[in-house]
Symmetry: C2
Subunit: 392 residues, 2 copies
């Protein structure tokens, strides 16, 4: 039996209190601490549930490697092609690189990560194998979900679908997809294949949808239809969903209603240079919303640090969230929204929940979101796994 007593913490900015963590869970209020229980003095810090990184690419970060000089062209396909070439030339070992990024995430307070991992006819299943190894090695500090992700196209590159099937058999958790119109050029074929694979493996679905405007709305309709037909409420996510950032309410409002009704979650990075899903309207429509870092310092771009509280800042800035009640929505997106979106059964700071907790020097939730203070303490299943912003 493990036991840890957190004293003088303020749950989501409330009054100072103590939290007893027993056997990896939050104990009921008033439960006496067993003799010899270790004590961690929160020193008045704000306690929030472990942050949820709902969308990243653990297999291809260049963290800790020499600076990669980016001279890539402007189109999506330029970046996809360039990455395959870089993976051969550098190379980018998935196990080592994913371990580096997970450590960074844990240091910033993430206790759950959903990572897309490339599957294609060049890299094969090496990314899946590498991130599976990291998932196992890091299991005590972070829970990792793996999405088998056909980054270079699914039907457009024959052999990929079979590799995706093998990835799921190896232990990937989620079936991924990518721009059914713009990249794979066969929306019906692409989505039928993705959902059939998910059905075969009893797995959720998570689809990158960069397609803007009417094209993206069309693909989203096809996703909604398949989600309904297979009864996959709560098990489908659309990542990026730039089409929801269209200024055309006649396009967006029916999509939001359909997403809410079908129980499909939306992931946003708060991308400042693209139209993005309007998080306040999503919340009002009842659509579950989560957030992610996307790629971190990779061949696509040089940005990112795996800090989901800083991601909440970016989502807040992108959506012009200024009021304290609006900033609470930004925190929800990187905590409870993320947990619902990636299908966690138990999550939060209520008694009985897994003791996944972050301590932050902040007076209020709004301050935590707007200023993303550093030097956090991360607790996973009742054990301290990072202090002063650094993973153990």
């Amino acid at each position: 039996m493990t036991a840890l007593l957190l004293i003088d913490v303020r749950v989501l900015g409330g009054a100072p209190t103590d939290l007893l963590l027993l056997d990896g869970r939050i104990a009921a209020a008033g439960t006496p601490a067993p003799p010899g229980t270790a004590v961690l003095d929160g020193a008045g810090r704000l306690a929030m549930p472990g942050l949820v990184e709902a969308h990243t690419h653990l297999d291809k970060s260049l963290l800790g490697m020499a600076w990669y000089r980016n001279e890539v062209g402007p189109r999506l396909i330029d970046k996809i092609d360039n990455e395959r070439a870089a993976r051969r030339a550098l190379p980018i070992p998935p196990e080592r690189q994913s371990a580096r990024q997970v450590a960074l995430s844990v240091g910033h307070g993430s206790t759950h990560i959903r990572s897309h991992v490339d599957v294609d006819t060049e890299c094969g299943l090496s990314g899946i194998a590498g991130v599976l190894a990291t998932k196992q090695a890091a299991r005590d500090s972070c829970t990792i979900q793996i999405v088998a992700f056909p980054q270079s196209g699914l039907l457009a590159r024959p052999g990929t679908l079979e590799l995706m099937d093998q990835a799921m058999a190896m232990g990937a958790d989620v079936v991924g997809g990518l721009d059914p119109c713009a990249i794979d050029r066969d929306p019906k074929g692409h989505l039928d294949a993705v959902f059939a694979l998910a059905d075969k493996h009893g797995a959720p679905v998570d689809i990158h949808l960069h397609e803007p405007g009417e094209m993206g709305a069309f693909s989203m309709e096809l996703i909604v239809e398949r989600t309904r037909a297979l009864g996959m409420r709560g098990r489908v996510m659309v990542s990026h969903a730039f089409c929801l950032g269209s200024p055309d309410a006649a396009l967006v409002d029916p999509l939001l209603a359909a997403l809410a009704e079908a129980g499909i979650a939306i992931m946003t990075t708060g991308a400042p240079s693209r139209p993005v899903p309007p998080v306040k309207r999503l919340a009002a429509a009842g659509v579950v919303c989560c957030a992610g870092s996307d790629g971190i310092r990779d061949t696509w771009g040089p940005y990112g640090n795996a800090d989901m509280l800083e991601r909440a800042t970016l989502v807040g800035l992108r959506n012009n969230l200024r009021r304290d009640d609006e900033l609470a929505l930004a925190l929800e997106i990187v905590t409870t929204g993320g947990a619902r979106a990636i299908g966690l059964k138990e999550y939060g700071l209520a008694p009985g929940c897994p003791a996944d907790i972050v301590l932050v020097v902040a007076e209020t939730v709004a301050e935590a979101v707007a200023q993303h203070p550093g030097a956090r303490t991360t607790i996973k299943a009742g054990r301290v796994v990072a202090e002063a912003g650094r993973a153990h």
Copy 2:
């Protein structure tokens, strides 16, 4: 005579070298260090010129005060009215608050700040007096320019123009203006008054222009006309300039050409939730571009930390800058672009320039911009004024 020898620094990411700083200036290569010269080991850090904070509001940050619960309405005028009320209720002492923000800026590597300071019929000249005191007190660590800023309107609030005139007489450096159509409701009257005051005091002009689309373009045309008429090339800035973020090239392209021809600089914060000046197109058109934090943790919004390298990150993200050559533009905006925009006569890392330097742990300029590493050393006029990210 002061002397400091920086050893093992990499100027903008170049090969390791030494820099001798003599009497507050960068000495010519090969100049022997005088006996007893202090040595600072750069340990391979990247050296860049002191960062330029070209637009902030030193008089009204709430830094170090209890968290301000924001419940403000969505319109610009809501924020303006709320701020006047908060200034009475809290209060917000300009001298103390400006000193706090300047220390934060210096810690992050800013050696020059242009601050707008409110002048209105309620607060009078108290903001100007407070920031003038900080300007004097902080003169050895940071050079501060003060813009007399009619935040609550100029002609719309009788008595403000006379206060602005007094502010300039007291020592304000620049005449400010604000949304000639949308706030003051009299674009000709507003701009004639602003430029007449500038002409009287021989001062530059810096105008907040939030007005979008065609309205903003109209105001900008009026600013261009007055800049030409008064021969104020290089002495006029338009801050925010959201109208330049219009997707209508037929609106924007002639404005860019006119701005370049008239020598008017543009300030952007890289605001993620508003249309913003497209910095690559500005650079291509020959328009000087700079950046600023705008308000930091004030009654307008909870964001901001006075880090101009993080601002470069935000400008980069907002403008989708990914390639190393594009990130170099982002650095230029917070260094040389800022220096030109606020009218510094001498600036940079060439021999003879004032020794205003920041040292950053980064392999390349692109890394410095994309990752804005912390723990910097700031040097002002040849003296170390901040170490490990903290002002002395």
